[in-house]
């Protein structure tokens, strides 16, 4: 093999420094998940195709990575029927494929592939809950931190393999969980040193209520998709899009208060209550929002800001109650670093009805970028050794190894340079590895049962006994 090997588009190798930083974020999230009573589960990387297919819409189905049946996939129980129109298919491009051809192609695909890589953690979680319902004590507070795979077109910041970090509660409709999830976001981001994130909150019932009172209930999706763009395209842009989608001028007039929606939380609740007075569902949403925000305010947040944002929609079809999204502090321009909400029928797709769930997710890759940009990673995050013992030959290496063994028993990370090469090369290795100390032990040190400890940053060198060495490296 002549050319340098490479990895598939949209995937990544992580270097030691990168793994350490990612692990620092994951560990912080995990510790706080557990502090809030969430328990870990893990599910297989691939699921049966029928568990995943049809759960993410047509686009999602296309983006699911399918695994070829193993062994000689042609020898299944039955003969595989090749697509009749295969010849035609091959002369066409993907774009011009017609519905019949797609059905035929999908049929063929499903014959040679029965498993697929998971696309998110939510559907496998729903599958897990239904499959293990008799072993689970509800309400079930689970967290899950595992990679997912999507055959998205790779681009900056979008990967084909990435981690999701989810915490969900299933089996209870209590709004105290929404209160706790807001606190959990606050606690995690505060622990990471990322102060001042904005936790935006909205409620699906409020969006439905607004659509109802402006007489656009039948256009709920179009309405919310347009409203969600207020940040990006402004008031005029949103109005233009709504009109294009068939929402009336009269409706837009009723909607006007939303475009100048501001003030304190109490002000916003008041405006919403007036706007939604005639909608039972809308008022239910207002009440839920008020319960969550009042209790969060009563308890107080450490550094995060809770903000009512009526334009927030996210995956609207999915959420039925609260909707959350977290934005990084204003100095960093990046999309949301977390999101979630309540979904009243999580497990219905697998035949278990009436299981309300609520959950939040942390965007590992974006949080990484934010911490990097704001230089919030602790200096100690890298998993590097505290000292390198210089190798002067076998006798000296044994003397060094005796000290190394005792230091490791004190949980101090130290290592021996494996080869007896020029000292300059050994120091260079320590330098590149960011190891702060070198320990030198030759004939003289062995004779006096001591060690020369060199600070590789200042160049300072001292002679110490083992206790002195241990204390210097523990410091």
């Amino acid at each position: 093999m002549a050319s340098k090997p490479s990895i598939p588009q949209g995937t990544r190798d992580f270097s030691p420094a990168e793994v350490s930083k990612r692990q620092y974020i994951i560990q912080t999230i995990k510790t706080n998940f557990e502090k809030f009573g969430f328990q870990p589960i893990e599910t297989p990387s691939f699921e049966n195709s029928d568990t995943l297919m049809g759960k993410y819409g047509e686009e999602g189905d296309r983006l699911i990575f399918k695994i070829l049946n193993s062994g000689n996939f042609f020898f299944n129980k039955n003969k595989i029927e090749l697509p009749q129109s295969l010849e035609v298919l091959q002369t066409n491009s993907a774009e011009t494929i017609n519905v019949d051809q797609r059905i035929e192609l999908n049929k063929f695909t499903s014959r040679i592939s029965e498993k697929a890589l998971r696309y998110d953690l939510t559907v496998p979680f729903a599958r897990y809950v239904v499959q293990h319902q008799n072993e689970i004590e509800f309400p079930f507070k689970r967290y899950q931190i595992q990679p997912v795979w999507r055959a998205d077109r790779p681009q900056k910041g979008r990967f084909r393999e990435f981690f999701q970090c989810d915490a969900d509660v299933v089996g209870s409709k209590s709004l105290w969980q929404e209160v706790e999830l807001v606190q959990l976001y606050d606690t995690v981001f505060t622990s990471l040193g990322l102060e001042g994130v904005t936790i935006k909150i909205n409620n699906r019932k409020i969006l439905s209520g607004i659509a109802e009172v402006i007489g656009a209930s039948d256009k709920l999706i179009d309405f919310t998709v347009a409203l969600d763009k207020l940040d990006k395209i402004g008031e005029d842009g949103v109005k233009k899009e709504m009109i294009e989608k068939g929402i009336s001028e009269t409706a837009l007039v009723k909607l006007q208060p939303l475009f100048s929606f501001s003030g304190t939380f109490a002000d916003k609740i008041k405006q919403l209550s007036e706007l939604l007075a005639s909608s039972e569902e809308g008022m239910k949403g207002v009440e839920e929002l008020k319960f969550i925000c009042d209790n969060v305010a009563e308890l107080g947040l450490s550094t995060a800001i809770l903000d009512l944002d009526v334009t927030l929609a996210r995956g609207l079809n999915y959420y039925t109650g609260a909707i959350f999204e977290v934005a990084a502090p204003k100095t960093v321009s990046i999309g949301s670093i977390g999101g979630g909400g309540r979904y009243d029928d999580l497990t219905g797709i697998f035949g278990l009805k009436n299981m309300s769930g609520v959950g939040i997710s942390f965007g590992l890759d974006r949080i990484y970028l934010v911490l990097e940009e704001l230089q919030l990673f602790p200096e100690t995050v890298a998993a590097t050794s505290k000292a390198l013992f210089v190798n002067y030959g076998d006798k000296e290496a044994l003397y060094a190894s005796q000290a190394i063994q005792k230091l490791r028993q004190e949980n101090i990370k130290v290592e021996l340079y494996p080869d007896n090469v020029k000292v300059g090369k050994q120091f260079q290795y320590a330098d590149k590895r960011l190891i702060p100390f070198a320990v030198i032990a030759g004939d003289q040190e062995i004779a006096s049962n001591s060690y020369s400890l060199k600070n590789l940053v200042t160049g300072e060198q001292v002679s110490v006994d083992f206790e002195g060495l241990k204390n210097a490296l523990l410091a």
Copy 2:
């Protein structure tokens, strides 16, 4: 969907208790890897097919999970040629397929699949080293703990998705690394409370030397495969197999000392030196073994036993120097719980020559079974809450939440039962979750700013203020 959902054959869901136990093992391994100066890397779950194919033999190629090209895989740059003999293939079974048909099938497979799930961590590591050679400071001590996938026929204890935990050093031939890897095994298993494991050691050069002196160099593989079975089929069985493979009676006579190979380490070295006196390679192997074992003995092991086992071969084609295998204490009957060795040309497959490597691996699933059987998991391993706050309604839940918030700031895991349901049901939840305490706070407690703390094991209940609550839960 009427029937209960399921997961693919050979894969597993992990419950909270299982994840916690697995994480405990992984964390112990990780901490010790880092203490010994190893740094973490991570590679993508799938690699380009040509990175993996042809690296594990024909059997391995068949067991690699292939990923179907995403989108409409029929529409690649070029037209896909279907196997000419597809009709014939479909009427045959997998076993009767001939070479030409297999080639044709493989060609077709490679047209519809260009990526594959990683089969082990070694080949991706070699690929990583070659791809990033200019960023790496050698010797490179890396560890990697990630899942791998194999399309093996699922059976008890053999899975299609499982974790590997590997530590390797690449770029140095120093035998001090073998010394340290033996210490690392000892340290990890001692940390896990698994005392008395046997670390078997051998050397490829000794096996080659033996084959040489008995005049069977051309039958090295057959010879070692047979010798490796001494444990299972006994002396007579091994001899019978060797004769079947064409090894002469005269050779077997020379081999005789190996069948009664015993005594102290020094005795064994003496016997080997006599047997191998005429083989330069064999004597080099003896010298290497002696260096490693002498230095390990000089430094001492905590609880593990190092044992020279001349029958140990493992993947012989792979290793060029030391060979390691770890056996659980005799009371547990299970295969090896770890293994490794030195391979002089790790990265040659990707065009980077002369990179000697040495590494060891820990078998997570088997270690789990051993710890379970010997009841060595600490009781505190489960990620469960320390106390459940009983929910008596919104006013009481707010009072509870205020205490919960402060307790979590002290890193105490506590949770509020989300719903105001019968107390019995809430206690039952605590019981099933193995939560040891319940905190009761109703009107009376709120009025006196106190909490009733109930020990769910003893039934004992005391009234405490917040400090008392905190101290009781910290204990």
